[in-house]
């Protein structure tokens, strides 16, 4: 039970991080039709910029400043490069961001080096947020902060006590992602800015005729999307590891999220990222293979089959490819994605 709860929370927090990333991507895609290939690069940039700021003035200013810096860089890129390419169509736009991802990767390695940097969360976020104590006598208990050692040690050999701490950084990740989700939703549906943004998508001429500067709206949206990626980068970089490969590790997963959720659907991206986060986290914890399953139903494979690596693969080993399998299944059975509305 405590394993389930902790895995569920871990999965949700990872899913929410994915959502933070894919929300920026979805925002840019649904607004401008541009698939930002460099989105994961902005995520990496956010982590590195926050690392540098954190070394100077501390983590909390970095949490605010780094997304702003990344957002400004994103807006600058839109203003100087993407806008020029806009007239050639969507594929060159995508290719521009593809080229940018190469350049950002090289520049990051140039400035911060090719190995991982030590980007630690602040002391207030280190250690567990709460601990689940499961005792075979007293049942399940929740304790804020770390549980005292005495509680985790069973006094009697017959009593089984398991303590599962939940890291504070992951809790923080969930809080920030949820706050971001709510504020994004409020901004888009409840404010005049959101109204202009949404109508600039469907009726750019009309919005322009009403006196709004549509190219500037696009620039701001691109900057905002990049800033969201930067924010995710600060949190992801301090929770996991800040290294030049971090863009590649999330890069393709967030595309899977966007396709599975339905292109351009923010709610779909939310559902898909939670699903993928939970599936992947649970898969890592399951140590069974096809072979074990076969033995379970009473079939004894021969020695040659038993040594075949495909049959011996455990679910935890295939965990990294599960999102892509999920993608293929979704495409076969529901090509427009979970909550998507348009096809093709």
């Amino acid at each position: 039970m405590e394993l389930f709860t902790i895995s569920m929370l871990n999965g949700l927090s990872y899913g929410l991080l994915l959502f933070m990333l894919s929300s920026g991507l979805t925002l840019i895609f649904s607004m401008m039709g541009v698939l930002n290939f460099a989105h994961a690069s902005f995520y990496m940039l956010g982590a590195y910029v926050a690392y540098s700021i954190a070394r100077l003035v501390g983590f909390w200013p970095g949490l605010v400043l780094a997304p702003l810096v990344v957002g400004v860089l994103g807006a600058l890129f839109e203003r100087t490069c993407l806008r020029k390419v806009h007239k050639f169509g969507h594929v060159p736009e995508l290719l521009t961001t593809f080229g940018l991802s190469y350049v950002i990767l090289e520049l990051v390695q140039l400035i911060w080096g090719r190995t991982a940097v030590e980007f630690r969360p602040p002391p207030s976020l280190q250690g567990p947020a709460f601990t689940l104590v499961n005792s075979s006598v007293d049942g399940l208990q929740v304790l804020w902060g770390a549980a005292p050692d005495a509680m985790c040690r069973a006094t009697d050999a017959a009593v089984r006590v398991v303590c599962s701490p939940f890291p504070a950084t992951r809790g923080f990740m969930m809080v920030v992602a949820l706050a971001m989700l709510v504020s994004l939703w409020l901004l888009l549906t409840r404010t005049r800015v959101g109204l202009v943004i949404q109508s600039a998508l469907t009726h750019p001429e009309m919005v322009e005729a009403l006196g709004h500067n549509v190219p500037r709206v696009f620039m701001l949206v691109f900057g905002a999307g990049a800033a969201l990626a930067g924010l995710a980068g600060v949190i992801g970089g301090s929770t996991f590891v800040t290294e030049p490969a971090m863009a590649a590790t999330v890069g393709s997963v967030i595309f899977v999220v966007v396709v599975v959720g339905g292109m351009g659907s923010l709610a779909g991206a939310f559902v898909a990222s939670l699903l993928i986060g939970v599936i992947q986290t649970f898969a890592v914890a399951i140590d069974y293979s096809v072979l074990d399953l076969a033995r379970l139903v009473g079939w004894q494979p021969g020695a040659q089959a038993a040594s075949h690596s495909l049959l011996r693969l455990t679910v935890s080993q295939v965990a990294p490819i599960l999102p892509y399998l999920f993608l293929v299944l979704i495409l076969i059975f529901r090509p427009k994605g979970l909550l998507g509305t348009r096809e093709g």
Partner: protein, 431 residues
């Protein structure tokens, strides 16, 4: 029309001339560049040409931006290397020279399998799905060591059995001629494909899929069929790779290779058939030679790519064709001074910027090797202020001059273009 076209039936002289020159080039290239490094590079260029052309069947002709083309070349290479081992083991009675075909069939098989899922969508979703599938295959390659050989990959030996007519495929030059033969045949076949009804439909699907559906074709099926054919040629290229390198590692299905196909096909020019050939040559030269010269080559590559997308989205091929048009109307002599100015000032900018980049890379990566960098025959000292100042100064002066000559060039170019338009209109009126 008053255009001069050499079109003598039943022989199309122009076409025979172009293909004859291509065949001659493939035949004579190793005679001109006979060092062993050159022959190795030429062999790799042949492989890259087939891969880039097959990629352009998707990108340029079908409007399908794939991020996973290395899946088909790579799986083709894997199957070919296993076939090679089967030939050595005596269980597969085919000559080694047919290995590329084995790779091709494998590429086709995987394109049939995976293409069914990927080609259900077009445009941006297609791009993302191919990316996802490429990740899937790459992750699988490390999970199934039986087939993929794990980290070390699968190795083979192409020298099998008795030599036929003295050809054992031991020396690189013999392999080169086999690869050149395949390159020529594949290029010809792919060019022929552009003239088939299917090739034309593919262009129509790229330009307006809705309209294609309206006149009764299924755009999805056209894309799928083209995808399978592109997969076949990609597999042939993979088989050629296996034959050339005698090894296939997980890297051949990796994302970096797919990215390289995309990058260089685009740089060469996706809008013309011969564009990817230029791209393939550049790809081999950049990955083999440029990476030896400078550590910053990926940065240069990314920047060149960005500038190309922004200022010349048709790639090098379109730049060539534009200037051929200018030359055909006899205007190139008006422009050559402007080109000289552009090229000269551009080189100054590049020299300055390159010096800065090289010094920064040196500072970051091998500062332990001492404070000096060798750059274009000169020795730069990164600890002295005047080197930095000099580099920045050269770059800024170059930029200012470049901007001046660029304005002059733009002016002249526009003049030449209006002149060409006027000539064309006059010719039309004369008819």
């Amino acid at each position: 029309m008053g255009q001069r076209q050499f079109h003598f039936r039943p022989l199309n002289v122009g076409r025979w001339f172009v293909w004859g020159a291509f065949a001659l080039l493939l035949l004579l290239a190793p005679k001109l560049f006979s060092s062993s490094l050159a022959v190795t590079i030429l062999s790799q260029i042949g492989i890259a040409v087939v891969a880039c052309l097959s990629y352009n069947m998707l990108l340029g002709q079908g409007g399908m931006l794939s991020f996973g083309h290395a899946v088909y070349t790579g799986l083709g290479a894997y199957v070919a290397i296993h076939a090679l081992n089967a030939i050595s083991g005596g269980s597969l009675p085919i000559p080694v020279s047919l290995l590329p075909l084995v790779g091709g069939l494998a590429g086709m098989f995987f394109a049939v399998l995976l293409g069914y899922v990927t080609t259900r969508k077009s445009g941006t979703p297609f791009a993302m799905i191919t990316l996802g599938l490429a990740e899937l295959v790459f992750a699988m390659s490390l999970m199934v060591p039986e087939f993929f050989g794990g980290e070390a990959g699968v190795a083979g030996n192409r020298v099998v059995g008795k030599p036929v007519w003295g050809i054992s495929f031991g020396p690189q030059i013999q392999v080169y001629y086999l690869l050149a033969f395949y390159t020529f045949v594949c290029t010809a076949l792919m060019f022929a494909f552009t003239h088939t009804p299917l090739g034309r439909m593919l262009n129509a699907v790229r330009d307006n899929a809705e309209r294609v559906a309206f006149i009764g074709y299924n755009p999805q099926r056209v894309r799928y069929t083209a995808f399978i054919i592109a997969g076949f040629f990609a597999g042939v290229s993979g088989g050629m790779y296996a034959l050339n390198f005698e090894i296939a590692t997980a890297e051949v299905v990796g994302a970096a290779r797919s990215g390289a196909y995309l990058l260089f096909t685009f740089l060469g020019g996706a809008t013309f058939f011969f564009g990817p050939i230029i791209g393939a040559v550049l790809m081999v030269l950049a990955t083999v030679l440029l990476s030896e010269f400078t550590k910053a080559w990926l940065l240069y590559l990314g920047l060149v790519f960005l500038f190309m997308v922004m200022y010349a989205p048709g790639g090098i091929a379109s730049l060539l064709m534009m200037n051929l048009r200018v030359a055909a109307f006899g205007h190139l002599r008006n422009l050559w001074t402007a080109y000289l100015a552009l090229g000269g000032t551009g080189l100054v900018v590049l020299a300055g910027a390159g010096a800065i980049v090289e010094m920064i890379y040196h500072l970051q990566l091998d500062a332990a090797l001492g404070p000096t960098v060798k750059y274009l025959g000169a020795t730069l000292n990164i600890e002295r202020f005047d080197t930095w100042f000099g580099a920045v100064f050269v770059m800024l002066v170059g930029l200012a001059l470049f901007e001046l000559s660029r304005r002059q060039f733009n002016h002249q170019w526009a003049e030449v273009q209006t002149d060409i338009e006027r000539t064309l209109r006059r010719r039309e009126d004369a008819l």
